[in-house]
């Protein structure tokens, strides 16, 4: 009971210096007063670490009672290459054999580089960053049109269907539409018949006609305004236009067909301001049906280009085929962003 009383008396005296106290408490109180100047608990070890670092990064071990503070370091220039100068032996051991092996490997690499035996090539993907023609897939460039059909067409007002034949040379400009029956054998300004298509299409010249026709008797077909077929416009085929089209891409390549095409997500930035539009991408549909070499041809910005690329990368196609074999096909896809 006496003890309990003196504990309370001491505590009361610490809080209220004017409170009455016994001589025993008075003695303890003078010590308590001095303890108010004690340093913070972690200060001594913190300063020790600072000095340790200043002394050269070596750890000091004379006081194992003091807790260390891992990661606490002042930024000092001596930290540079501390391992190399033997300043980090407490962090991890420095093995001479490892240092020697590392130095030898680096020296050998520098020697090889110096003598030209090793050269650095740019990654191939960087070379793909040019125009789409650099992919060497121009033979598979699909013509623009509705759906995936060619839209060439023409005709010579014949009673019969167009006769079988090959396509004329391709050109980006057409001065003379292709004809099956040549009526003027002595023109004043002879210009070869051409078909509007990429000029490096390597197609046979003779005889000119409709590729899928079964008719062997020469005929321009029942179409109008020149060309061959049942359409109009100086092309070859049963549609209207100066190009070639029989429901297949030039060169007999069937178009790829998207069989899995999830819609892209909207970017948060575009959604906030109700931004809409169409991102146009140029892609290569690989024989395995995946889209590769994606490039943005018409950008919308606000994060929608990235979202379009992200979505089309997941698309799967039934690949384009040529002579029954899946082939890579370069094509343009449009990703529509609309807020409903």
């Amino acid at each position: 009971m006496n003890d309990l009383f003196i504990y309370d008396e001491l505590d009361r005296a610490i809080d209220q210096p004017s409170a009455p106290r016994s001589s025993q408490v008075e003695t303890l109180l003078s010590i308590a007063g001095e303890l108010e100047c004690l340093p913070r608990p972690g200060f001594k070890s913190q300063l020790k670490l600072e000095l340790e670092w200043e002394a050269g990064g070596r750890s000091m071990t004379s006081d194992s009672r003091q807790p260390s503070r891992p990661g606490y370091r002042r930024s000092q220039p001596t930290a540079v290459l501390s391992t190399f100068y033997g300043k980090a032996e407490r962090l991890y051991p420095l093995r001479g054999a490892n240092v020697a092996a590392s130095a030898a490997i680096h020296a050998a690499l520098l020697l090889l580089l110096g003598t030209g035996l090793v050269s650095v090539h740019r990654a191939r993907i960087l070379q793909m960053q040019g125009t789409p023609h650099e992919t060497n897939l121009v033979a598979y460039v699909p013509p623009k049109g509705d759906g995936h059909e060619g839209k060439g067409g023409g005709g010579a007002n014949s009673k019969t269907d167009a006769s079988k034949g090959e396509l004329p040379p391709a050109s980006r400009l057409q001065f003379t539409p292709p004809v099956v029956e040549i009526r003027d054998h002595d023109p004043k300004l002879p210009i070869a018949a051409t078909l509007i298509a990429p000029p490096n299409l390597n197609l046979p010249d003779e005889p000119i006609g409709k590729a899928l026709s079964t008719l062997l008797v020469p005929s321009g077909g029942p179409g109008v305004r020149g060309g061959i077929g049942a359409g109009s416009g100086g092309g070859i085929g049963d549609k209207d236009g100066p190009e070639a089209g029989d429901g297949a891409f030039p060169g007999g390549v069937s178009p790829p067909r998207a069989i899995y095409h999830p819609e892209p997500e909207y970017s948060e930035e575009a959604r906030r301001v109700h931004f809409q539009g169409v991102v146009s991408l140029l892609i290569v549909v690989e024989p395995d049906g995946r889209a590769s070499h994606l490039r943005v041809m018409r950008s919308l910005g606000m994060g929608l280009d990235e979202k379009a690329l992200e979505a089309v990368r997941t698309w799967r196609f039934e690949p384009g085929t040529k002579e029954g074999r899946p082939v890579p096909v370069l094509m343009e896809v449009e990703v529509d962003f609309r807020i409903h």
């Binding site: 505590d11 001095e34 303890l35 100047c37």
Partner: protein, 182 residues
């Protein structure tokens, strides 16, 4: 302090630290509380005492190579650095119109100052050697200035138990101080 080695040992320790600065740790351990106690008596608060103490030891480490043994304890050199550091501070603060406790001109005689610092340093060092629960109560009560109820909650003890630990800690310190003086 009880851990003070004789002057010959101290000289060897200083020479070792001059050759290899990492040995400065031993000198730091033996003299930390001396310097801190000397400084804290002269400055207004704990934070400033810690700043000055840190400055003193950094300065000592930087200039350890210039220290020349003349038979005086290493602590005397450290306290001289501390006095110079405080004088610089007073000079700087004085120009700002502030007044610090115990300016140099009003200081007590050097011997009694050192004796007082030595006694207080011993007390601070003894706190480090208290049993863990007593030490925790002392640090929370006198350094962090917490009430007994708060400490009891933190330590999961009753208020009575905390008051008892406080009393026993102070009793232990008093007994050890008396023992060391005798």
């Amino acid at each position: 302090l009880s851990v003070v080695c004789n002057l010959a040992d101290e000289r060897l320790l200083i020479e070792a630290a001059q050759r290899d600065p990492s040995r400065f740790a031993e000198l730091y351990e033996k003299n930390f509380y001396r310097v801190y106690a000397f400084v804290v008596r002269r400055v207004r608060d704990r934070a400033e005492a810690e700043d000055v103490t840190a400055e003193v030891f950094h300065e000592a480490l930087r200039n350890l190579g210039r220290f020349q043994w003349r038979g005086a304890p290493f602590a005397a050199w450290l306290l001289r650095i501390a006095a110079n550091t405080l004088a610089d501070r007073w000079q700087r603060v004085g120009t700002m119109g502030e007044v610090l406790v115990d300016p140099p001109g009003e200081a007590a005689p050097e011997a009694s100052v050192h004796a007082e610092a030595e006694r207080r340093a011993m007390l601070f060092q003894l706190v480090d050697h208290l049993p863990q629960d007593q030490r925790l109560v002392i640090l929370r009560r006198f350094v962090e200035q917490k009430a007994v109820r708060e400490i009891a909650q933190e330590l999961g003890r009753s208020e009575g138990a905390v008051k008892q630990l406080q009393f026993r800690a102070l009793e232990t310190l008093r007994a050890q101080m008396r023992c060391n003086h005798e």
